[in-house]
Each structure stands twice: as structure tokens, then as C-alpha cells.
Symmetry: C2
Subunit: 414 residues, 2 copies
């Protein structure tokens, strides 16, 4: 199938998907969960082909782990599908309703986006997750996964299509681009005629490539150069566990901390505690000139370090004179994801909340909470780091748009 | 000033503008209104230079009219500024607020976008309008107007900056790109580091150039290939005035009708009435083969006609077998702006409302009502024709984003 025909099929399917009842959508999602479990042997066999290629090509063990499917992970995928079935359906909500002096009635109604495109890397679990969220929010979806998991994605998509068909829903609601040629991916980014929104999920490089090449509206997700600022009025007993948690609880995620910003007045008291904690957790520290003497074994931070999302056991340290310098530093280097201040001073906290430009700004809480489930919003398609459309965790509502429906009796404009 | 330094100034100003109180913003907007009236002589003198160049260059009379400023138009500009001062301030609204089981409090707060870029054509009234809306919604703005009105824009911007300064607000809140070189405009579209959202206002060509070249998130506005579908169950007494109004009340606007779609069952009854009405209003009709015999003096419509926003006394006609063919035709050719069905059949109307993919879908009402004031939403920066972020009339709220503010007592993730 050519890329154009894939896009056309999604474009046609969207009219059916956007008008499906909640009941049918939920039934179909549960059928997909069952079918994926029923097909786990064939999905795992396909995954083993991908894994064999990946190992031949010397893929990094962390990435091999993300690529791997097994019975337990397939059960988790099925459970994720069932959870989305249980979430409330956002479609059809009347957001506003009013009558104008000339008698025309205006309704603002929540509707699907239409066709959502998702470009992601070699994580086969994204395939059913992304399908579930876009389908429940009434969209057709076109998926372009990493070439390293193409066999897994084909097997999963086949199971989804079969379950949709058996539920009386068009299997064209999900489209997988099987051609792994990079030129095809680039062409996909220009299919504005058919695709309403494009969501890249993955590395900063992937996201940059999409924003630079796409003429489709894009939602940027997932790069997080997150900071913890420890203020002069911080409770140091809170600061240390927050930093350990934000830095080390899971190093490869976008809401992990990458940099410590510290008020100079407390450097002699606080940095030795910080140094000890980082050593205990095997974290390398890259420190600026003012902080380095207080951090045993630290190395010099360069300008480049402050802009870096390490996703590793490394943290940079920057010393500042006051909260405003901390805010300016963070606003210069952050990626608009999650930022934290540790302070007992309410005024300072409020200034940080008001002035730091990020999706999620924390006071005395670890940045690791930026997550749809942790916020109580349910499953998410990603964390938006842009200000247009949606910011922070993107759940079902964030995969919708709205339209105005106006009814009258022949009103014309004077 | 270089483009980079202009962008940097806006980037720095945004931190001040986003934290201004409603009172100061309103006072500043009223001061700007007064200053523009006080400076009307110098603004009109600058405008006369632009008009002289435009006439020398043989500009179309309709565009000369849009370019022209006079005392009456300057008073209208000032009144527009005062109206924006009177609108409620969207910033700081707590959109949601909840506490999680671990005790952390989450607030979703409405915040400005930050820096808004606006690229527009030679209409000097857009300069103060765009400033007023972006400023009231807490944003810094960078304006790039058409080169044909550069002298008018410089004079208006000077007055705005002076009034801001006298109101104790940074004059850097408004930036005008004075360099009229096209390469600079193109470079502006890649200033993602400083600009949060880019809004092109103008022709389809301008909007396409922006979506193709920008790496900044874009909101598309203002192209309208709008249709009126007259169903077999239409009240023809309503249909004719709606078509006349939508086509001829103001031909150069984005919500004017460009195409009639008609059910074949009524072509013999309805098209002669339509033909007569169009003739009376000097509208040229380009008809498909089925409708042509019923429309005196019509010429053959080509495929190209159906995709065309004429902005002129021209209308195309397409005959269809049923409402579904009408919907498919409209969804193929429309620009996502405003679409209308004329019918007395409630089921048919609902099908049209559910399935036509556009910002505003009308039943028995002229498409000319797609407008912030007509909807009762107040002044607007444009009509969004995309589904991301905002759709339809874009007022103050649509120029904002939100952030999550999370406060706690040392919560960490398990």
C-alpha cells in the first residue's frame, strides 16, 4: 500500500469512527484486549525476529529491554486497553450552549480531531496504547513506529484489526505504515490534506525532525530538562529525598531531574549533604565553579551541560544569587516540562510558580509526578511541552477538538 | 535592530507582561486609545506615504481601501482598544483544582502563551487590534505587517509604545519587524526559541507559506471556501435570502459563501429562483452539467472551481443525489471554516451537523455569522480553521495556555 492510500483510508474511516457510540467503542476495546492476549504467541514470535535483528545490530541493552515483549507485558497491554474502555468518553460533550438576540442557537460541542498521526521509536507497547487512546476519543490513527520493531507492530496491528472487524467496526480505523524507509516518514509529515494532528513520541532529535519537516500541526511531547531549585529558605530534610527521587527513581524518563540549582547562601550547608546522597546513588555531578569545592569528586560543568537531558546517572549543578536568577536560568535552559522549587517561603514559592515557564511547576514535590495516572487523569498519549492546544499530561480530552453548531430559522446578517 | 534582538526583547518582556494586573493592562489599553487619537495627524501622514507608493505600484482599489486610514477609522481603532479593555481578563483563572491521595494539591491555571507572532498583510488596523488582544491576554507580541503599510505601522507602533511607557508598562511588549525583506519574514518563522505561537492573517498563499516554513506552532486562520447546501426538504423561502446574504453581503470576507450544493430532486424548482437572485445581484454562476440547464447565463464549472475561494461576485454550483454526497463533496473541498445546510428535515440537519468537518456548521442560518462579535464572544484575532488548540472565532481565551501548579510537603514517587 502506498502512503497516500494509507492516509486516504484513515481519512475515510474517520467519519465512521467519530460517530461510533461509546458502547461500541468500549466493546471493541475489550475485544482488542482479548485478541491481543489470544494472539500472544504469534506476537511474541514476531517480536523475537525484531529482537534477533536488534541484537545483531548491537542495540543498547536499555533499548533491547524497551523492545521486548513477553506474556507479562502482553497482559499489561491488555489491561491498559481495558482501562481505556473504562474511562469516560469525551466525545459529544456540550461545552457551551447559548442563544443570540437574533434567535440563533449556538452549541459548542466536543468532537474528535479526525485523523491523528503518531511517530514513535522502537517500543511496541506504544502501538496498542496509542490506538486505544485515539480510538476512544473518536479518531482514526496512522502509526509510524520505529523500524526496529516493525514485525511486532505488524503482528499487534493485525490482532487489533481483526478484533475491530469482529466488533462491527471498520478495521481501517488503525493504519500502520509498514515501509521503514526514512523518506516515507518524511513524506508522512507533509500529509496535511489527510492528517489533522501529528504527535511525535521519543527523543529530542525525533521531535525536532518532526517540527522542522511537518506542515501538519504538531504536538511536541516528552523532552524534559527538569530542574530542582533549592532555595535559601528550603527545608533540607525535604530537599535531599526530592532530589534523590527525581534524579534516580527512573533515570530514562522525561520527568527525571537533570540539574540542581542552588542558592549560594546555603551552598556550604547543603552541598555536602547533596554530594553524599549523589555518591550513594552513583550519580556523577557536573558542577559550576561556585559549587564544585563543596562536592567531592565532581567535575567541571560546561555551558552545554546546562542544556542537556542526560537520561543517565549524571546531574549538573548551578549556583545562583537569588530566586530570580534561578528562574532566569531555568527559563533559559528548560524544555517546558517539569520544574521544582524547594522552599518554606511562600512568597518565593509563588514567584517561582508565577514565573517559571513550564507545563508543571512544583513546590516541595518531586518532578516524577508529571504523569496522567499520578495526576488522576488516566492514561495519556504523552506529556506536551508546548503551549498550544494542550500542556502537560495529554489524555482523552486532549485528543479532541470542538465545533460550533448553529441552528436557526433563516437568520441573515444585516 | 536585528531580528534576533527583536525576538529577544519580546522574550524578556513576556515575563513582565504575563504578571501585569488587570487594572494596569486596562489603564494602558485606554492610554493607547487616547494616544492613537492624539497622534492621528502623524499616523494619517505616514499612511499617506504608504498610499502614494501603493497607487504608484498600481494596487487594486479594494486593497487601497483596506490600507487607508482617516479620522473616522482611527476613532474606530481607539474604540476597539477601549472595548478590549472592557472585556474580562482571562489570565489567572483557576480552571481546575484538586488534591491527590498523597496530599499534593494540583491547580490548573490559565496563563498567557508568552510571545505571540502575527504575520499579516497590508491592513494597518490589524496592528492595534492584534496588540490589544495579545496584550490583554498577557502576551508580548511581535508584528510583521505587509510591506505596503510599513510607514503606517511604524507610526501606530510608536504611539502604542509611548502610551505603554507613560502607563508604567514596558514598551517592549510590542515589537514591530520593520525590515520588509522577505528573507527576514521567512527567518522569523523559525524563531521557535523565542516565539510560542505564530498566527498568520491573510490570504491562503500567506498561510500556506507560514505552515510550510515555520517550526513554531501555527494557528491557521481565515481561508473560507464556504458552501450552502440546499436539501430536498429545504424551505426555499429561507434558502434564497440565506444564499444572497452569504454570497453578497460582503464578498471579500472569509465567511462569504463560494459554492451552492443542491439536491437533484429540487433542481427544477429551486435553480430558476436561484438563477434570478444571482442575476439581480450581479453574481456570475459556474455550474456543473446537471444544474447548468436551469441557470440562465451560467458557465461550465471546472474541478478547480469547487476548490476556489473567489472572494468575488462568483459562485459555483454542484448537484448531488443526497445529503451524504453533499457532505462528502463539502468535506473534500472545504477549508474547515463555515458550512450551511438549508432543510426542514431534522434528521438530515443532524446528519449534516455530525458529519461536516468545519469550525462552524449552520442549519438555516447564513454563514456570515462566523465572527466573534456575532457569537457574543467579543473581539477576535481571527477565525481558526484548524482543529488544534482553537477552532472558529479566536478571542482572548484562545490566546492563552495553562500550567499545572503542584504544591506539597516533600512528596516523592514510590
Amino acid at each position: 500500500m502506498t502512503l497516500t492510500s494509507i492516509c486516504q483510508k484513515a481519512f475515510e474511516a474517520k467519519y465512521e469512527v467519530q460517530n461510533l457510540s461509546t458502547e461500541i467503542k468500549n466493546k471493541a476495546l475489550r475485544a482488542v484486549a482479548e485478541e491481543i492476549v489470544a494472539e500472544s504467541d504469534s506476537i511474541i514470535a514476531a517480536n523475537e525476529i525484531d529482537l534477533a535483528h536488534a541484537k545483531e545490530n548491537g542495540m543498547h541493552p536499555g533499548m533491547i529491554d524497551r523492545l521486548t515483549l513477553n506474556d507479562k507485558r502482553i497482559e499489561a497491554i491488555a489491561e491498559g486497553l481495558r482501562q481505556v474502555a473504562d474511562l469516560p468518553d469525551p466525545i459529544g460533550e456540550v461545552m457551551e450552549e447559548f442563544t443570540r438576540p437574533n434567535g440563533m442557537r449556538i452549541k459548542k460541542v466536543r468532537v474528535p480531531m479526525g485523523v491523528v498521526g503518531i511517530i514513535y521509536e522502537s517500543r511496541p507497547n506504544v502501538t496498542p496504547d496509542a490506538f486505544a487512546l485515539t480510538f476512544k476519543s473518536g479518531n482514526a490513527v496512522i502509526l509510524k513506529g520505529g523500524s526496529d520493531c516493525i514485525n511486532s507492530n505488524i503482528a499487534i496491528t493485525k490482532a487489533i484489526k481483526k478484533a475491530l472487524e469482529e466488533s462491527g467496526v471498520t478495521p481501517e480505523a488503525i493504519q500502520l505504515i509498514e515501509d521503514t524507509d526514512r523518506a516515507v516518514t518524511k513524506e508522512f509529515m507533509t500529509m496535511k490534506q489527510y492528517v489533522d494532528v501529528l504527535i511525535p513520541r521519543g527523543s529530542a532529535g525525533l521531535i525536532r525532525a518532526v517540527t522542522e519537516n511537518s506542515n501538519i500541526p504538531v504536538i511536541e511531547t516528552g523532552t524534559g530538562n527538569c530542574h530542582i531549585y533549592v532555595d535559601k529558605d528550603a527545608d533540607l530534610e525535604k530537599a535531599i529525598p526530592i532530589i534523590i527521587n527525581a534524579k534516580t527513581q527512573r533515570i530514562g524518563v522525561c520527568n527525571a531531574a537533570e540539574s540542581l540549582v542552588v542558592h549560594e547562601d546555603i551552598k556550604d550547608r547543603f552541598l555536602p549533604l547533596f554530594s553524599k546522597a549523589m555518591k550513594e546513588h552513583n550519580v556523577e555531578v557536573r558542577a559550576d565553579a561556585d559549587s564544585k569545592p563543596f562536592i567531592e569528586g565532581s567535575i567541571d560543568a560546561t555551558e552545554e551541560d546546562f542544556g542537556k537531558e542526560y537520561l543517565d546517572y549524571i546531574i549538573s549543578v548551578k549556583t545562583v544569587k537569588n530566586v530570580d536568577e534561578a528562574i532566569a536560568h531555568i527559563n533559559k535552559y528548560n524544555t517546558g516540562h517539569s520544574e521544582c522549587i524547594v522552599t518554606e517561603n511562600k512568597e518565593t514559592a509563588q514567584r517561582f510558580l508565577d514565573r517559571v515557564d513550564a507545563a508543571c511547576v512544583y513546590v516541595n514535590v518531586s518532578t516524577r509526578f508529571t504523569d496522567g495516572f499520578e495526576f488522576g487523569l488516566g492514561a495519556e498519549i504523552g506529556i506536551s511541552t508546548q503551549k498550544l492546544h494542550a500542556r502537560g499530561p495529554m489524555g482523552l480530552k486532549e485528543l479532541t477538538s470542538y465545533k460550533y453548531e448553529i441552528t436557526g430559522e433563516g437568520q441573515i446578517r444585516g
